[in-house]
């Protein structure tokens, strides 16, 4: 079948190979790399980025982009924790419900503006990022929330598959990582097996054709940006559970790295292409890279240099391949004299 012959060319395969190579190199250079403790910690530290990447994936496939999700996550995180500290008797369940609802509402606002006024998503979301984030600063005066309700910690401290080290230290798969993985599966199923999911691909692949065969552009756009917002909200809660303090400027600024991971994972910034598996591997590659710098005791200043190079190389690979195909295309079967 055709699909199989394309395997070698697929982004997921290429990423997988790269990751395996990195794993081998790392474990040779730093014996502590391939240990259970290091791996589960690595996954945990990239959970927030991984969760965000799922929302960004939806947006990018639909042909859009969103840079406001970090601001949404920040605002939601602050608001939920603040409410639970001062106004409401909260719990974990309620914190997620509230975060999803608030995040979705902010996302709907993006979706509405983008669809209604046919404005470029990048412009709208740059504006709303500043708006959301700025308003939060005005209202909170940038105050940190040091002490947060204990149940927030519990999410990240609850572990599956625990292992005990000789010195008594416990390591295991954090609940936050589980949330990331479960969300990934939900989004993957949504994209592959629902009409709504396929509509997102249709809209990204050919918006005019999508409208002509009856894809509801407004509903799909609202869904995509609303889900992005809801996922940002979840990410905000997971973030506070890991960091255990609300620092108003700790999430905003990561948006480009998340988008980069999604693009690295094979999603096309022009829309219509992308997969959850690819995105997951993209995030993983970033995670392993940053971790190996730490383990090899290379200055973290190098991290951005490596990130930039990886993205550049992956994008150039695609472009070069395409140019080659263009060149080799036989246009006229020239007769031999």
């Amino acid at each position: 079948m055709k699909a199989r012959s394309n395997l070698l060319k697929s982004r997921e395969f290429l990423l997988g190979i790269t990751i395996v190579i990195l794993l081998v190199v790392n474990s040779l250079l730093a014996p502590s790399f391939l240990t259970y403790t290091n791996i589960v910690n690595l996954l945990k530290s990239f959970t927030v980025l991984g969760i965000f990447s799922l929302g960004v994936l939806l947006v990018v496939i639909s042909g859009g982009v969103d840079v406001s999700f970090t601001a949404i996550a920040q605002v939601v995180q602050y608001a939920v924790v603040y409410l639970f500290l001062n106004n409401i008797q909260g719990n974990i369940f309620l914190s997620f419900v509230l975060a999803i609802v608030m995040g979705a509402l902010l996302g709907f606002l993006n979706g509405y503006l983008i669809h209604r006024y046919k404005m470029p998503a990048i412009i709208i979301t740059i504006a709303t990022q500043n708006l959301f984030y700025g308003l939060m600063y005005v209202i909170t005066e940038g105050q940190l929330l040091y002490i947060i309700p204990e149940y927030f910690w519990k999410i990240s401290n609850t572990m599956l598959f625990k292992q005990y080290a000789a010195n008594g230290a416990v390591s295991g798969i954090s609940m936050t990582t589980v949330i990331w993985l479960v969300l990934s599966i939900i989004i993957a199923l949504l994209l592959k097996f629902t009409v709504l999911g396929r509509s997102i691909y249709m809209m990204g692949g050919n918006p005019v054709a999508a409208q002509r065969i009856g894809v509801n552009g407004r509903r799909t756009t609202m869904f995509v940006y609303g889900t992005m917002g809801a996922i940002a909200g979840i990410g905000g809660i997971v973030h506070v559970s890991i960091v255990q303090t609300v620092i108003p400027n700790s999430i905003v600024g990561q948006e480009l790295q998340v988008i980069a991971a999604v693009i690295l994972g094979g999603a096309s910034i022009t829309g219509g292409k992308g997969s959850v598996l690819g995105t997951f591997l993209g995030v993983l590659l970033f995670a392993i890279l940053s971790n190996s710098l730490t383990l090899l005791q290379i200055s973290s200043y190098w991290y951005n240099v490596f990130t930039g190079s990886i993205i550049l190389v992956s994008v150039l690979l695609n472009a070069v391949q395409e140019l080659q195909q263009q060149k080799q295309k036989i246009r006229v079967r020239v007769e031999n004299a």
Partner: protein
């Protein structure tokens, strides 16, 4: 029995009357040709039929039932499918998904199951007699096959009316034959077909009934047996004015361009010819004969690998468009929409863009007065229909856009003008105007013109000499009296026969 009738439909767009009191009927199982110049209202009528646009007034009846409210899904539910000129598929999805998703949306399903419908897709593709792997991405298929996928999608929707909007523009003759066979099969199944084309010979070959729109009005709707191509043309423009042999006698023996052994791998080989001052040289050949590739090489967009080009006796190298322009070569591409115009800029700017370096003040800044004057001169000379040189190019009709492209290049007073299908997709009236201007320019300024075209009559009416290309080489040269419709037609038919045999 009539499948669909539209009665007394009108449509206005911000001051422009696109359709005036149009009545239009399509019977079950008939192939109905719809023709008209650009801007005559064909696309508006199609969009109303498809439910993409609401009509301002009038009545739509489908299978005897009056339809009141009408949207895109209504059209699909009543079995109306449009194969748009741009095909309207999803290049990022597989053939199977493209075929299935329309119906899945129409049925308002939530879950998309590929397994459930795979056999149906295979059956439809078999029925169409096409050999396409349904797991392949549509973006990787050639245009002709994409069109078949679009038709397969229509069949999956249980279409009873299939609207084909200029389906043959990008197809080779062979692919057109396959398409026509298919359309005839669909007709036998009782499916009504509306076939829109600028190529009247195709209309005559395929259609049972022909309806002709002019300026938003339905001027005739007759059986093809009562019509001829000439009669259709008369209905379209209101008078017969095109394709009279129109060749001036001012060719000087001086050579403006000479090509020797020009070769580009996988494109063309050993091309040699010369072009004299004031001469109009026709180049014709089937799709895939290398004619367009040759033009691209002469203009530097896809330079040749080897061979020599001389301009006015001087050897030159053309490796880029800048080189070509420097040596006085101008190129009017076939696809004016993507290659010829800056669509969202004004008419003025589009005309001035190739000659900006000549429209400068003494200190080298752009001289807006010079540009204004130049734009006004060309709008008048080319009879571009507009009240304002500041109008955005996109808002003009195809014919007027093509005139702007032409004006842009003529403004730089070229030595060689290459026209690649200059009249593709533009109306009969505008065609005549374009050729009158080109002839005048060739006669007066002595520029040489290379005219590449599909339309034999266009070539025979305007060219001093004709080169027939075949498989990337010049197969024949016709001069003077040898240039007849018959001679060229016979040659091309022979080529097609040989090609068909080779394929077997």
């Amino acid at each position: 029995m009539d499948f669909i009738t539209i009665q007394h439909a009108s449509k206005r767009f911000s001051g422009v009357q696109a359709l005036k009191d149009v009545t239009f009927k399509v019977k079950q199982g008939e192939i109905h040709g719809l023709v008209g110049e650009n801007g005559s209202g064909k696309s508006t009528l199609i969009k109303i039929l498809a439910g993409v646009l609401p009509a301002d007034g009038g009545e739509i009846t489908i299978e005897g039932k009056k339809i009141t409210s009408y949207g895109p899904l209504t059209g699909i539910r009543h079995g109306i499918s449009v194969i748009y000129q741009d095909i309207s598929l999803f290049p990022n999805l597989t053939v199977m998904e493209n075929i299935l998703l329309g119906r899945v949306l129409e049925q308002n399903r939530k879950i998309f199951s590929r397994k459930q419908f795979e056999q149906r897709v295979v059956n439809i593709l078999d029925e169409l007699g096409v050999d396409i792997n349904h797991h392949e991405l549509v973006g990787e298929l050639p245009i002709a096959q994409q069109q078949l996928v679009a038709i397969a999608r229509a069949l999956n929707n249980d279409s009873k009316l299939l609207i084909l909007d200029e389906p043959t523009t990008a197809l080779t003759r062979q692919e057109i034959n396959q398409l026509f066979r298919l359309v005839n099969n669909l007709k036998d199944l009782g499916i009504a077909i509306i076939f829109i084309s600028h190529k009247l010979d195709e209309i005559a070959e395929l259609c049972d009934t022909v309806s002709i729109l002019r300026d938003g009005e339905m001027v005739a709707s007759k059986l093809m047996s009562e019509l001829t191509i000439n009669k259709i043309e008369n209905f379209m423009v209101g008078k017969s004015m095109i394709h009279t042999r129109n060749i001036h006698a001012h060719v000087s023996p001086e050579q403006v361009m000479e090509i020797t052994n020009l070769t580009k791998k996988n494109n063309f080989a050993d091309i040699s010819f010369s072009l004299q001052r004031g001469e109009v040289l026709g180049v014709i050949g089937l799709l895939g004969s290398g004619r367009t590739e040759l033009a691209s090489a002469l203009f530097g967009t896809a330079p040749a690998d080897s061979g020599q080009i001389k301009i006015s006796g001087e050897p030159v190298t053309i490796k880029s468009v800048q080189d070509a322009v420097k040596h006085g070569i101008a190129y009017v591409p076939e696809d004016r929409l993507t290659q010829g115009l800056v669509m969202n800029k004004s008419i003025k700017l589009n005309i001035a863009i190739a000659t900006l370096d000549q429209s400068t003040t003494s200190i080298g800044l752009v001289d807006t007065e010079k540009i204004d004057a130049m734009a006004e001169k060309w709008i008048e000379d080319m009879a571009i229909k507009t009240d304002d040189k500041e109008k955005i190019a996109r808002t003009l009709s195809g014919g007027n856009q093509q005139k702007i492209v032409l004006a842009k290049w003529l403004a730089m007073d070229p030595k060689v003008l290459i026209l690649d299908g200059p009249t593709v997709g533009i109306d009969v009236g505008a065609k005549a105007g374009i050729f009158i201007t080109i002839n005048e320019m060739a006669k007066n300024s002595g520029m040489g013109v290379i005219l590449i075209s599909d339309e034999i009559r266009e070539i025979t009416s305007h060219c001093h000499r004709v080169l027939i290309m075949k498989n990337g080489r010049i197969a024949r040269e016709l001069v003077g009296e040898e240039i007849t419709d018959m001679a060229i037609q016979r040659d091309l038919d022979e080529q097609k026969r040989v090609m068909a045999q080779d394929l077997k």
